[in-house]
Amino acid sequence: MPAGWSALPPTGPPVTAWRNDQGRRPKVMPARAPRPRFSLLRFAPHLTVALLIVPVLAGLAGTILPAFGLTNGEGAAAFRALADWPGLWRAVHLSVITGAVSTLVSLGITLGIVAALLGSRVFGVIQHLLSPLLAVPHAAAALGLAFLIAPSGWVARALSPWATGWQNPPDLLILNDPGGWALIVGLIAKEVPFLLLMTLAALPQTDATRRLMSATSLGYGRVWGFVLTVLPGLYRQLRLPVYAVLTYAMTTVDMAAILGPSLPPTLSVQITQWMMEPSLTMRSTAAAGAVVQLLAVVGVLLAWHGTERVAKAALIAVAGRGWRMAGADAPARLTAIAVGSVLAGLLFAGLAGLALWSVAGLWPFPDALPHQISLQTWARAAPDLAATGGATLAIAALATALSLIIVLACLEAEHRFDLHPKARALWLLYVPLLVPQIAFLPGLQMLNLWIAAPGLALWAVALAHVVFVLPYVFLSLGGPYRQWDARQALIGAALGASPARVFWCLRLPMLMPAVLTATALGLSVSVAQYLPTLLIGGGRIETLTTQAVALSSGGNRRIIGAYGLLQMLGPAAGFALAIALPRLIYANRRGMRQASL
């Protein structure tokens, strides 16, 4: 899952709504003056595109130019230094394997769950679990998983010594394994909820229920019928989210630093380490590494795209064979429920582990529970936690508020000036999610040098967060905004209301549930950002996430638990409010309730 995704409403925005959906619009078009006045609002879409694209391009230039020695005249020295690093091939290999395997498995699990369980009661339960699962920042999820599966972790403790005979933690290489499998598991646990959400958002436009019904009425098994009739249309809508997942999985720094191998680490982690080294040469080596990382991502994306075509041809070939595969349904159903429960269990148990360690006194192996509960960790860290939590919240609030204003302006401009974004526009939204952070953020790092005052640094970090928060806010809000019945605006106008009044008194209040969900989502995306905070903040801005990752190397589980837990609590509270507030405010408005979560 790309940096810090969280939830869209389960009813979901059709991702393709951004594509030309003229055919679906209500017959009557929005009220609009025949000669629209000149208006700043009109340029909101341009501003949005600039905000998303300019930092990425500038950052890429700032990374690529030094890599080729174009800024210091050293030519290919950076690439020679990179080639001299003996771990290069292995690090690239790790990035490719962890990224591709975790994405492939996540996609498989997601589609399996949807195919086997769509429309069942279990599916409803899954939908309810999505928001809390998505609200967990990557670093917290990784830390929780590490606490769980380490040889001295909770799983081993729960089974020891009665089942395993272990009096000491076994000498097993589970975490930070050289093959990156712990990282792959962590990525899968975090990507499946994201892909599930995107699938839920796309399903309404695939006519899944009717297609599935006609397939099963022809004697096809549910799962196989899904693959043959729903998947092709569904995958077209999932393609961009899948690419974003692939990019993220190949280039994550925080999750890989916590769960991934260290002999050598993945390429992105190594690049980040080089960025932080004191000597100049390592900076350009890092830039060269970032170029290699970018090429690796592009290569894997192209290979993935090629595989899509092969898979499509194979599917078409197989579809004609008439195999019904009805017998596969029951096992598929059980597998889907089992795998889904294990993943959700890993995340929740990991978080419970974080919480328990944060209040643990002495807790030696192999005890399953601490000897005593103590608030000492929280009490000691309270001032730090408060300050860091405050900064985290301030940045998240700024970034989300800015994103929300821009997105609303953009959507309102679309409505008032009758603009129709094309398919290309969706790609633009995804640019910051498809270009690896590690490839363009180093190029932006020079910016922070001119920002001396800490107050400005906070703004700079918040602005950097906007680049990643805005796409999610847009994706989350765009669907509900465009699906809103434009006749209500027309009626408002016919009743004499100005466009501004229609916006503030009709559209915004009616879309409040969606706006709140987008807000919670924006906050959670911002809270989860690691690299942008680290590189743009230049060490002066500490958030719960940078702290949690910095502390993770130290192994003090109690304080890591406190930071990890707090990191998760903010977004969780946001989502809880996004669900509760509309219910509270519109308790007496039944017509508003279908619209909320």
Binding site: V28, A33, R35, D485, A493, G496
Partner: protein
């Protein structure tokens, strides 16, 4: 302002060069002009043109003159033309009273006076005591009446009806239709009623034309 009604002077709507609708007529105060035709024949497009909400890609020529005032180039909010749809489209986040209040002009009085106007309007429509109700709890007929009240409180100078009764069941349809047309006539509003229900046309009891302006 003189009450001369709604004057459509050589109004023509085109899409990509094709004529969708054309009308050259005057609807007098309290007159109901019925525009009939199958779906897709351009009836709703015609209403969009009159109210000023045509999507991009449509061309419009001619003049829309309301009580002697050319509104062709005004935004919807300043045309003073009310519209009712087949779904009554009450704003779901507002109470029935607040819905009516949304239509009431800002200069209609202070809070208490506004409240009084709304209560009176509701009482006149057999909806007394409904001001604080959630619109979602109203029956179809009640919602249709509330929607009309809201439109009339905005003091329009003309009324457009876009198949407003087609969703109502037969018994109710007759009653509501009579209610709407009576109110429109008593306000002396020029009315354009777009429908494909011959019952509507009959009840209106006036001229019946197609979207191309031809008499039916």
């Amino acid at each position: 302002m003189t009450q001369t009604g709604l004057d459509l002077r050589d109004l023509r709507v085109t899409h990509l060069g094709t004529q969708i609708a054309a009308l050259n007529t005057r609807i007098a105060p309290a007159e109901v002009l019925v525009v009939m035709g199958p779906s897709g024949s351009g009836k709703s497009t015609l209403l969009s043109a009159i109210i000023g909400s045509l999507p991009a890609g449509f061309g419009v020529s001619g003049q829309i003159v309301l009580n002697g005032r050319d509104v062709s180039h005004l935004p919807t909010a300043r045309r003073r033309i009310g519209i009712l749809f087949q779904d009554d489209v009450l704003f779901a986040h507002l109470s029935v009273g607040q819905n009516l209040g949304f239509g009431l002009p800002a200069d209609a009085g202070n809070k208490a006076q506004r409240r009084e106007i709304i209560d009176q309007a509701l009482a006149d429509a057999d909806l007394a005591g409904f001001a604080n109700r959630d619109p979602a709890t109203l029956s179809g007929g009640q919602r249709a009446r509330a929607a009309l009240l809201r439109t009339l409180l905005a003091q329009p100078a003309a009324l457009l009806l876009d198949e407003p009764f087609s969703r109502l069941d037969l018994g109710l349809r007759h009653h509501i239709r009579q209610f709407v047309l009576d109110r429109a006539r008593s306000h002396r509003l020029p009315v354009i009623l777009v429908t494909h229900d011959p019952g509507d046309a009959e009840a209106a009891g006036g001229r019946i034309i197609g979207p191309d302006g031809s008499a039916l």
